[in-house]
């Protein structure tokens, strides 16, 4: 939901080097059907946390929605799923 400028500051501060994209109008969030209406600051729409692992053809091989936004997929889980793509 943040602008490229906001995420650029975050990445610089946190040292992230992976590709970080911005969806300020929640278009892609809506297309992936993970919009959480009004749950953001000031009643703005926000995304619900989600991870999608795609193979080389763009097919979804694993996805993770959470029932509690404190609890996310752990790196080890994702790496294990990614290894299964080979």
């Amino acid at each position: 939901m943040d602008t490229p400028e906001t995420t650029r500051e975050l990445c610089a501060k946190a040292g992230y080097t992976y590709t970080f994209l911005s969806d300020p109008n929640a278009e892609v969030i809506r297309r992936y059907d993970i919009l959480h209406r009004g749950a953001g600051p000031n009643g703005h729409d926000i995304a619900r946390p989600a991870e999608y692992l795609l193979d080389a053809s763009g097919t979804i091989r694993w996805l993770n929605l959470t029932e509690d936004y404190r609890v996310r997929a752990r790196p080890e889980q994702i790496i294990e799923q990614a290894k299964a793509l080979r």
């Binding site: 943040d2 970080f20 609890v71």
Partner: protein, 151 residues
């Protein structure tokens, strides 16, 4: 006889405050203490025990220990902190819409074009096809991570 300082009350209260405040700043950083906040409940438990000891002294040994007024106040504040913490971790963060069934394993992920941090457009199809720097072949896959946003 001059009454003694009832340090158990203060220590108990501070531990309860730490139980609450340490979650966002310390324990939420690590999945092992974030998913189930046992470290914070431990802080609340030890703080609670100290508060109980302090209150027993304030009321049971009132000639030796102070704290008949601020003891219950600190105790009530600590209970509030615990209550608020429980509200957050057992209720608030679970308020999510029902899981979407729109996209399933086996379906194609919808194509999109979004802007990266340098304001360049990036398409999902290019992430899937363009080799990473130093590689010869296209990636074996792409991981899409949707964060909640509003950092």
């Amino acid at each position: 006889m001059k009454r003694r300082w009832n340090w158990h009350l203060y220590a108990g209260f501070l531990l309860c405050l730490a139980g609450f405040g340490s979650y966002p700043f310390v324990f939420a950083e690590y999945p092992v203490t974030r998913d189930v906040p046992w470290a914070n409940f431990l802080l609340f438990a030890v703080g609670g025990i100290l508060l109980v000891i302090g209150l027993q002294r304030a009321f049971g040994q009132a000639q030796q220990y102070r704290g008949k007024i601020f003891g219950p106040i600190l105790g009530a504040l600590s209970l509030l902190a615990l209550g608020f913490f429980c509200y957050i971790v057992f209720y608030m963060t679970k308020q999510l819409p029902p899981p979407s069934t729109a996209l399933q394993v086996g379906q194609k992920a919808p194509e999109f074009v979004l802007t990266d941090t340098n304001n360049n457009p990036v398409a999902l199809s290019s992430l899937l096809s363009a080799p990473l720097p130093g590689m010869q072949t296209a990636p074996k896959g792409v991981l899409l991570v949707f964060y909640r946003g509003y950092w």
